[in-house]
């Protein structure tokens, strides 16, 4: 009698770091930071004031902040109350604050945020925001931009049906590519929260920190959904082999490096998130 040998062997290709170069802003902000950070680090008070004045006078270097407030109009009924009760909104700093900010600190902070976000999503980097060279003049702007970014991603995902499909593990309704993309977004947002905690955790009050921690946990549950979808996709690929005597030679899984690494670990260990879902 002829039987079937199932030889499962999963090998993973590493993500291609050169993908990041395709993203507008990656090289540009890196070059900007490479020039401006040493300049600011080596500047005395007079020089720093001059840089700040030059940048502030040029309109194109203005940075509008608190962009996340647009979600106040967009969040659905289920999240509207949660949005209203959030303690993490940005408040105007003066009457008729147009949330327009100027200065070298804002310029540096925006470049650091945008470049770091691409690093998280597409590169293997243990320090995507390079906090080791965070300058004093950009510390507050960077924290504000980080929190604004976190709010935008969080409220956007809160009103996105795909998020709930991932949490429920509805494999049939979410493709592996969509799951990976959302996974990248979650990894990026969680990393922003963790960085915010390092940079400005002390400036947040207790209830604000508690809310941020809750957001981080919620994002983790969506991330588990991403792993689950990927694992089911992996199993479905085996099942498609049917009765054929075949095995898997290679499995290529590419995407956000941090996310892919965690999925790989789960799959190689043969557990993924199935155990978690079965336990529910």
């Amino acid at each position: 009698m002829q039987g079937t040998v199932r030889a499962y062997l999963a090998k993973f290709d590493t993500p291609d770091p050169s993908d990041a170069y395709q993203i507008v802003g990656y090289q540009e902000y890196a070059n900007a930071l490479n020039h401006l950070i040493p300049l600011v680090q080596n500047a005395n008070a007079e020089q720093l004031a001059a840089y700040d004045e030059i940048v502030s006078e040029l309109d194109e270097f203005s940075v509008y902040i608190n962009l996340s407030r647009r979600f106040g109009r967009l969040v659905g009924n289920s999240t509207a109350l949660k949005y209203r009760q959030s303690l993490l909104h940005e408040l105007p700093q003066k009457a008729n604050d147009d949330f327009r900010r100027r200065g070298i600190g804002w310029v540096l902070a925006l470049a650091r945020l945008e470049h770091g976000a691409i690093e998280i999503g597409y590169q293997e980097s243990s320090t995507p925001f390079s906090l080791n060279n965070l300058t004093a003049i950009e510390r507050v702007p960077f924290a504000e931009l980080l929190l604004d970014g976190v709010r935008s991603h969080y409220w956007s995902m809160s009103s996105d049906p795909v998020t709930y499909r991932l949490i429920k593990g509805e494999v049939a309704k979410v493709s592996d590519r969509t799951a990976l993309a959302y996974g990248r977004r979650i990894v990026m947002t969680q990393h922003m929260i963790e960085t915010l905690d390092k940079v400005a955790g002390g400036a947040l009050n207790g209830p604000q920190r508690t809310e941020l921690q809750a957001w981080h946990r919620e994002l983790s549950s969506v991330r588990e959904g991403v792993s689950y979808v990927m694992y089911r996709t992996y199993l479905a690929a085996f099942e498609q082999q049917g009765e054929l005597v075949r095995g898997v030679r290679n499995m290529k899984l590419a995407g956000c490096p941090v996310l892919v690494n965690s999925i790989k670990r789960d799959i190689i260990a043969g557990r993924a998130q199935v155990t978690l879902k079965d336990n529910k």
Partner: protein
Amino acid sequence: MQRKNLAIAFIALLAFILNSVVQGAIPHAVKQELDNRFIPAYRTGKLDVVVFSGALIVNQVGGTVNAEIDQYLVSQGIEELGTVLARSRFSLLVQSKEVKPVATKKELLITMPHFQAEVERVINGELRPAIMLKNDPAINPPETLKALESVFWDLHVYKNDLVNLSRTAEMAAMNVQLVLRNARLSAVERKTLSFDFQAVQQTIDAENERRLTLDMALRERRIELSLRILEESESYKDRLQAAFAMDQDVQVMRAFVEQQRRGSFARVPTPKLQASEASVAVARGANQMLFHAANQLYTGLHWWLRGRYGRGIAANGLLKGEHVKKLPALGFALSMPRDRAQASDPFATQDELASPYVGRRHEYIWSWENGGIKIECEAVGTSFFP
């Protein structure tokens, strides 16, 4: 009374029929193409789709239908089809994008008038910066670094306009020649397409020479002003700007003189490069840290602007295209705003007019999924169980 009622009914019927004829003049398929592809693409700035769809429409219709389409587009707040098509092709060319499909005779016939109008604007001096409109600008040049910087920016924009117009003229001339040789044309059509591209090129060259003459003269003046600021001013900010300005001017002059050595722009007076270089070298030697800081600052800001406002060729400007993976240096080419970039309040501006075009790149780029799951299978052997 009955006769009056009949007359009114007849007039109403006639009006209805006329209205139906006008409304029905645009074939259903063309109307669908306009509504479903051309107009949405135009409104969202997808120029490649605009060109594809517009060319499809132009090649399907003719005669009075073109006028009906133009009327319909105008009623939608959009310019005439020929203008939109010409401008879209022009913009794509400027961005060094491949423009498909190649313009046909029908398309050239409706886009050529627009192109001629653009050339007229150059000939009439409509695009000329204010400084070039003065009789002898060298006599009363701007007197501050800030004012000079603004003038150089205007001259830079004008240079880009001329370069782009020249490239478009070249492309248009090639297409027109092809059509004139190979297509059957009526006398009117032949007249529309018989456009003196050589004269256009000469006009553009003459404008460029005028621009360069002024540019070089003003750079010599800015170097003088900058040297004076370095000697007299104690303000670090002013000195920094002066150092950067003279450094930049010497570089630009050097590149221009090199072009002249190769035979270009012979009619433009050669700037006093050696004298300027010598003066700037002395100033640099005496202020090395200042020059280094100026270079760091303005180079850093230059890159920041490209990161903030630059557009790539894919994913609505967010990506540069796969060719960059082979050679990252290819990614330096980005499409930048024609005029000085402005930061606009995203809550007070419509999305399509927003500047920069995305508030934060990180809000969008996560959705570019470069990975996925791919499983390769092969036979690994069989087993027999007794």
